[in-house]
């Protein structure tokens, strides 16, 4: 502001004229310049003076109303289109009453049907859709964490043009001349790159695009793809097919590096069906038997009755031997690896032969096509096809995704691409290292990126468009078996994000079409019957299109196609092998900024916030490496620095690295975490490769785990028996009696809540931990705090090893609060902040807690969590929207722990009281119980002898953890059973 010169003489005169003490701030004030008056007005706006006077009730109410109104305006609006609640459709929203909507979420293009809880227009919790085949009412940890994604404050919030904030309209205006050019040339130079796509609407749009721009090409690439599955079925059957496994029909399962319990489309129903065959609590006295041969420890391997660690490259040899032994014709055999005893394989073969038609051999997505082809041949030979495995047409558009991206890079490098549209995905980060995607892409004159984050790819694109979250936009997708769900939004896009449908419509010259219009329009053309509106409503309501499951294909294995394939395993017994795996939390890196997933202890390693180079204890000794030693991994001229983590059960001479870390353009949460394993991943060997060299750099990189001690120290914490012993004597396990007490037992005349956790059903997938975090507003604490042992998970999955270091058996044990009837935490609290209620819950009164932490010290199970600092983010607005309104946000200095989801119990009890009845069994489900894919967690009223939980507690396998202490835990465990093959040679 230009200042006028001060008139000092006038100031003097004015001061002289004043009487009494007169205080002045500056010469400018004295001069009463216009600037000063302006400054005053700006600094102290007139409206603010309202607060200086007496505040009237009316003013306060006005301000409150205005604040509330403004606060609501910021984000949470109902989407403008009509969406349908799942169960009941009230005339209006009932405040405080959540509504559930059916929709679906995708990973790798494959959908899982979910019901999303909406509190006053805010989606807050994801549950499984019981009617959906990919869910059966349950979900996994990744799906649970999607709700946090929606509210991630680091999500891309605006259109960016060369890094500058712009608008969708500006983008359209800039796009138009380019499109005009493409229309003239038939789209020559126009390339689209998407992730795996199963959406019928998007496929239709792509088809339209192909007709509009015949020269345009559409490529698909995502780093964790199913190329091998498709190529394997092409090898075996001559056409790309999608195998769907039916574990409910399999008595013997052989997994060749397939982590079907966690990292495969359909993992939730697979786990459910697999565990159903192991359940002995419902009267059955038999179990299926699982053999796992795997290249890195997974939870599937942990469930195995027999497990062999082998390098990924050695598994083909096993598959060939297996096929040959089972009578598959013309198999070119390979020598068995030294770590695979022939007697082991013989016992497995005999077991398979005894179970023709009820066995299943499956290969992991990382195994080469020939292994998949061999599995198909084995299954056909054993008569399993049509029983334990069926085949359908592919769910996602089959494409050699690596070939696709290689082709795209070649075209870009050759200057043939003039417009590149990247829809979702982050190829600059995830593309194979040998292709140098970024350099090729930089030759494209117009690069457009639609994505949830302004990520590495967005950084190199001319235009970045914020993508709508799956819960913000309309779409559709197929499940692992082809079932189609229509995805409906729960909330209007928080940041005006656009969906792929809308971007494609813009490319087709219809930028005004909404995603809703596009999806609905597509289905109105597909719908055969008369009343589309009611079909549409029914479909949305149910969360899936009835009868849309892909039909089974009756195919035969082509006699010689797999046999003529020469062995591809190279020299499997020499040198170090590197094995790339998607991280079980952040996956391919897309959820790197999701704090819940970052802090979720990875199965088997319990690592959080980092990835590591996993090696076996034996290899570590040989190479002289310790945990957290930083090493340089060299593979064909590429190098990568990574910290070492020694993992029992890892194959010898194999290094497993997980993808998804070391991001450079990521939000606050993911920033600086881990190393980028893509740096070594090449297009010719995207999953494993031999010839790895390793050397210590002398540096250290701190890794943090939530569990430091995996030795059970000979304590009876996880009880394990074999099925044979159990059949012989059901009371096979050791039980500690409650020691006698001088005090009479406390009566619980009404409900008495209790929980039974079936260790025989628990697969250790972490879904319970994640669901609990989502339900109970548990904060994340960050790497440093986890390192200090201050993670806040109310239910943790403990893991113990048994046996030798190289191939130990491992057991998972979820540990929530035991709600002891004689809770040691209660008498030691000096302020009665933790007390029992009349239904037997050990409750935690946050308001009363002063934070002595004595309760935690005295808890033998160490399930209590303390807010050592202010962990809950109280400032980020978008995160406030995410929270469950029925659960308190905890202040620093307050103890917290599992409440058995007391808010759900209360809601259920209130409902039952309104209807003048008692709660039915299963009416109240805790979050961990609801999510559990295998129903390992059962909660209910133990006073009701007919309740599921009471029946489980009466089961001979039921035992109390540390029962000898006399705590009388309300949470009890059912022992784990193993079903070893008696013919198997002992190790």
């Amino acid at each position: 502001m230009q200042q006028q010169p001060l008139d000092l003489a006038a100031i003097r005169a004015r001061l002289a004229a004043e009487s009494g003490p007169h205080y002045w701030r500056s010469l400018a004030e004295l001069a009463e310049t216009d600037e000063f008056q302006e400054f005053l007005r700006r600094e102290f706006p007139r409206q603010a003076s309202g607060w200086l006077g007496p505040v009237s009730r009316r003013t306060v109410l006005q301000m409150m109303a205005a604040s509330l109104g403004l606060a609501c305006l910021t984000a949470c609006g109902q989407p403008s289109e009509k969406i349908l609640p799942y169960v009941n459709q009230p005339p209006e929203l009932v405040p405080g009453q959540p509504l559930f909507y059916a929709t679906a979420l995708t990973l790798g293009g494959v959908a899982t049907g979910v019901l999303v809880e909406s509190n006053m227009g805010r989606p807050t919790k994801i549950e499984g859709n019981p009617d959906h085949p990919a869910s059966l009412g349950h979900t996994d940890a990744l799906t649970q964490a999607r709700i946090l994604d929606l509210y991630d404050p680091d999500r891309s919030q605006t259109v960016l043009n060369a890094g500058e904030i712009s608008r969708w309209e500006s983008f359209l205006a800039a796009l138009e001349p380019n499109l005009a050019g493409h229309r003239a040339t038939g789209g020559r130079g126009l390339r689209l790159l998407t992730e795996s796509v199963s959406s019928p609407t998007l496929l239709a749009q792509m088809a339209t695009l192909q007709t509009t721009y015949p020269q345009a090409r559409w490529y698909q690439y995502e780093p964790v793809n199913r190329d091998n599955v498709h190529a394997g079925s092409r090898l075996a059957f001559g056409t790309e097919l999608n195998p769907v496994y039916r574990f409910e029909n399999a008595a013997v399962v052989v997994s060749l590096d397939a982590d079907f319990l966690q990292a495969m489309p359909g993992n939730v129903p697979y786990a459910n069906h697999f565990i159903q065959r192991r359940d002995v609590t419902q009267g059955a006295h038999t179990m299926n038997r699982l053999y796992v041969i795997e290249s890195t420890p997974t939870i599937t391997g942990a469930m195995a009755d027999h497990r062999r660690p082998l390098r990924a490259g050695q598994i083909e040899a096993v598959a060939r031997s297996l096929a040959a032994a089972l009578g598959v014709a013309d198999v070119v055999s390979m020598p068995l690896p030294v770590d695979m005893p022939a007697s082991w394989l013989a016992a497995l073969v005999a077991d398979l032969q005894r179970n023709r038609g009820t066995s299943l051999v499956l290969a992991g997505d990382n195994q080469p096509p020939v292994v998949h082809a061999l599995c198909h041949a084995i299954n056909e030979t054993l008569g399993n096809i049509g029983h334990s495995v069926v085949l359908t047409d592919p769910v996602t558009r089959p494409a050699g995704q690596v070939a696709d991206v290689r082709q795209l890079v070649a075209e870009m490098a050759a200057g043939q691409v003039t417009t590149l549209v990247i829809i979702d995905g982050n190829p600059v980060y995830t593309a194979p290292a040998d292709l140098d995607f970024a350099a090729a892409m930089n030759k494209v004159p117009l690069r457009i990126h639609l994505g949830a984050y302004a990520d590495e790819t967005a950084f190199l694109c001319h235009w970045h468009l914020p993508a709508a979250h799956a819960l913000e936009s309309w779409s559709d997708a197929r499940a692992f078996d082809g079932t189609i769900s229509i995805m409906q939004p729960l909330i209007a896009p928080l940041y005006n994000g656009k969906s792929a449908h809308e971007l494609l419509a813009a490319l087709l010259g219809q930028p005004t079409l909404s995603a809703h219009g596009i999806v609905r329009q597509y289905w109105s053309t597909q719908h055969q019957g008369s009343d589309f509106d009611s079909w549409w409503q029914t479909t949305l309501h149910a969360g899936l299109i009835a009868g849309s499951t892909l039909p089974l294909r009756a195919v035969k294995v082509q006699a010689t196609s797999y046999a003529t394939t020469n062995p591809t395993g190279g020299s499997p017994d020499t040198g170090l092998e590197i094995n790339f795996q998607p991280d079980r939390s952040v996956w391919d890196g897309r959820w790197n900024n999701n704090g819940w997933l970052q802090e979720l202890p990875r199965p088997m390693t319990k690592l959080t916030w980092d990835n590591a180079a996993l090696i076996s204890p034996h290899t570590a000794t040989r190479l002289g490496l310790q945990n957290e030693d930083e090493v340089e991994l060299r593979l064909r001229g590429r190098t990568l620095r990574a910290p070492i983590w020694i993992l029992p059960g890892q194959p010898q001479d194999a290094v497993t690295v997980h993808l998804g870390y070391g991001r450079t353009q990521v939000g606050k949460v993911g920033s600086g975490s881990g190393f980028d394993a893509y740096a070594l991943r090449t297009s010719d060997s995207p999953w494993f490769s031999s010839g790895l060299e390793i050397s210590r750099t002398g540096q250290h990189h701190a890794l943090v785990t939530t569990q430091h001690h995996f030795n059970i120290e000979g304590r009876d914490l996880v009880q394990v028996a074999t099925l044979a012993d159990y059949q012989h004597n059901p009371s096979v396990i050791h039980k500690d009696e409650h020691p006698p007490s001088l005090y009479p037992a406390h009566p619980y005349p009404g409900y008495a809540w209790g929980m039974a956790i079936n260790l025989n059903a628990c697969i250790g997938c972490n879904a319970c931990t994640m669901a609990c975090q989502a339900e109970n507003n548990s904060p994340i604490v960050g790497k440093e705090q986890v390192a200090l042992g201050r993670e806040m998970h109310w239910i943790r999955v403990d893991q113990y090893y048994e046996g030798n270091l190289d191939n130990p058996a491992s057991y998972h044990q979820p540990v929530p609060c035991m709600h002891c009837e004689n809770a040691p935490c209660e008498p030691v609290c000096p302020v009665e902040a933790t007390v029992h209620d009349d239904e037997g819950l050990n409750t935690m009164v946050y308001n009363r807690c002063v934070g002595t932490r004595y309760c935690s010290n005295n808890c033998p199970y160490k399930v209590r969590r303390f807010n050592f600092l202010q962990y809950s983010d109280q400032n980020t607005i978008s995160l406030r929207l995410e929270r469950n309104p029925n659960v308190t946000i905890r202040q620093r200095g307050v103890m917290e722990k599992c409440t058995y989801c007391v808010q759900r119990i209360s809601a259920g009890r209130i409902q039952a009281e309104k209807e003048n009845r008692v709660l039915a069994d299963g009416e109240v489900q805790t979050a961990c119980q609801a999510v559990c894919p295998t129903n390992a967690i059962v909660f209910g009223n133990i006073n009701d002898p007919n309740s599921a939980v009471a029946k489980l507690k009466a089961h001979p396998l039921n035992y109390g953890l540390l029962a000898e202490l006399g705590t009388q835990p309300r949470t009890s465990y059912l022992a784990r059973l193993r079903n070893p093959n008696p013919e198997m040679p002992t190790e």
Partner: protein, 472 residues
């Protein structure tokens, strides 16, 4: 006041060097306060202590802003330095009460010259200790919820919780110690009032003296009150640390849940208290030239007591290990094994070296009367007793029942700064005390003189075969 005083068999140092008169005692002690110039050494020591106190205040400020997460506490080790320091400081206080109250009732006249500063030590140690339970809270601003007071919530504290007993025990202890110390000060403060020439100190001493005129009635009531307070304070020597020990013993954690804890803690407390008295007495008599009043006899007796208590705690350690083995309880056994061989084995080794081995030197009279050596042993015991509390708190918690939740505890900068800060606070208060109040009770020393002269008279009377007379 007649009694068959046991006469020393061997000629030993008297509790008061010969040649003193009433006047010389009063002069020598009161001059330190009212006449002697504040020395450079005092300023230096006070400066260091005061700086550390400022560190304490800074640490507390940061603690209140951020929360207890700035410390190394975690799950499973939810108690750390705060509780260790609390127990350590409370323990140190015990020797003061033992000397001033218990030995008063036992008519141990050697206590006289050391009881004032031992009691001041108690008071300041309790002040330091009392900070920790509050700082340690997750929400320290709500500490008063531990107090049973009528409130709108209609809630009482949990009377089953040892932490609540702790609150009563420590607050009672602090109150009684303060009163006892103050009552004992009254005649001396009156002397200072009469000897001070400056106006302000005279005013302050005058107010503190509560109108003491030294009349027979005053003396009579004073003696009665003092004796009663001693009677009140004596059980506290046993009760306070017993209750502190129950903070641990009432828990079910192996390594804590033990019936031996109350006596074991009391002995440990007196052990550390005597070590601290020696740590303070030896330099004090040196710097203020008080060798006449705090003689080698005092030093020797305290060294012997230190040895005795050292043997007591050694017995405690032995019994803990024995019971762990004898119980056959796998968790108890593991805790002991873990103390010996686990990651915190240096702590256990330190405890044994400092508390069991180092005091054995005190069997030798040469060590007991060599003030420098004794000072060293006392310092070692101070450290050892702190390590013992670390061992009890941390090694029991860090590996309890479920191996999956085992963890470690690593103190942070703020743990150390708070601990050192309370050392600063303690010494700041102590420096102020020796500067403004008589560190040795003048009137009781004068009584000693009376007794001694009485002795002489008694002996004369005995020689004259006269019947025994009153010596009061």
């Amino acid at each position: 006041m007649q009694g068959d005083r046991i006469q020393p068999i061997a000629p030993i140092e008297p509790v008061l060097k010969p040649g003193h008169t009433y006047a010389s005692i009063s002069d020598k002690i009161s001059d330190i306060v009212v006449k002697r110039k504040t020395t450079l050494g005092w300023f230096l020591g006070f400066g260091i202590a005061f700086s550390l106190t400022m560190v304490l205040f800074a640490s507390i400020t940061y603690l209140f802003i951020k929360g207890v997460g700035i410390w190394g506490v975690d799950i499973p080790v939810a108690w750390g330095f705060a509780i260790i320091n609390f127990v350590w400081w409370i323990g140190i206080g015990h020797a003061g009460t033992l000397i001033s109250a218990f030995l008063l009732l036992m008519r141990q006249d050697w206590r006289t010259s050391i009881n004032r500063f031992a009691e001041a030590m108690t008071l300041f140690a309790v002040a330091c200790a009392g900070l920790f339970p509050i700082l340690h809270l997750g929400r320290p601003w709500l500490f008063y919820w531990l107090i049973p007071y009528p409130n709108t919530m209609g809630l009482w504290p949990q009377f089953r919780s040892p932490l609540d007993w702790d609150f009563f025990a420590v607050s009672t202890y602090a109150t009684v110690s303060l009163l006892f110390w103050y009552i004992g000060l009254i005649p001396d403060v009156a002397s200072l009032r009469d000897r001070t020439e400056k106006r302000l100190p005279r005013l302050i001493f005058g107010i503190m003296a509560l109108g003491w005129r030294g009349s027979a009635q005053h003396w009579h009531r004073f003696q009665m009150a003092y004796l009663l307070m001693a009677g009140l304070a004596t059980p506290l020597v046993v009760s306070v640390h017993s209750i502190v020990s129950i903070d641990f013993a009432a828990a079910i954690i192996p390594g804590w849940h033990s019936t031996i804890f109350p006596p074991y803690f009391v002995i440990g407390a007196i052990f550390s208290g005597f070590a601290m008295v020696l740590t303070l007495a030896i330099p004090l008599r040196r710097f203020f030239g008080l060798q006449d009043f705090v003689t080698l006899r005092h030093i020797n007796i305290m060294a012997k007591l230190l040895l005795l208590m050292g043997l007591g705690v050694s017995y405690g350690y032995l019994m803990e290990l024995f019971m762990a083995w004898y119980s056959g309880d796998q968790f108890e056994t593991y805790v002991s094994l873990n103390r010996l061989t686990g990651p915190y084995w240096p702590i256990f080794a330190g405890v044994i070296a400092c508390n069991v081995l180092a005091p054995q030197l005190l069997w030798f009279p040469r060590v007991r009367t060599n003030t420098l050596a004794l000072f060293g042993v006392a310092l070692i015991v101070n450290v050892g007793m702190w390590l013992e509390r670390f061992m009890i708190v941390v090694t029991s918690l860090h590996r309890d029942f479920l191996p999956s939740s085992w963890g470690m505890y690593r103190p942070t900068f703020w743990d150390w700064s708070t601990f050192l800060g309370t050392l600063g606070l303690f010494f700041t208060l102590f420096f102020l005390f020796v500067r403004v109040l008589p560190m040795i009770p003048m009137f009781e020393m004068r009584e000693l003189l009376t007794h001694r002269e009485g002795h002489t008279r008694e002996e004369q009377q005995k020689l004259a075969v006269e019947p025994e007379g009153s010596v009061a």
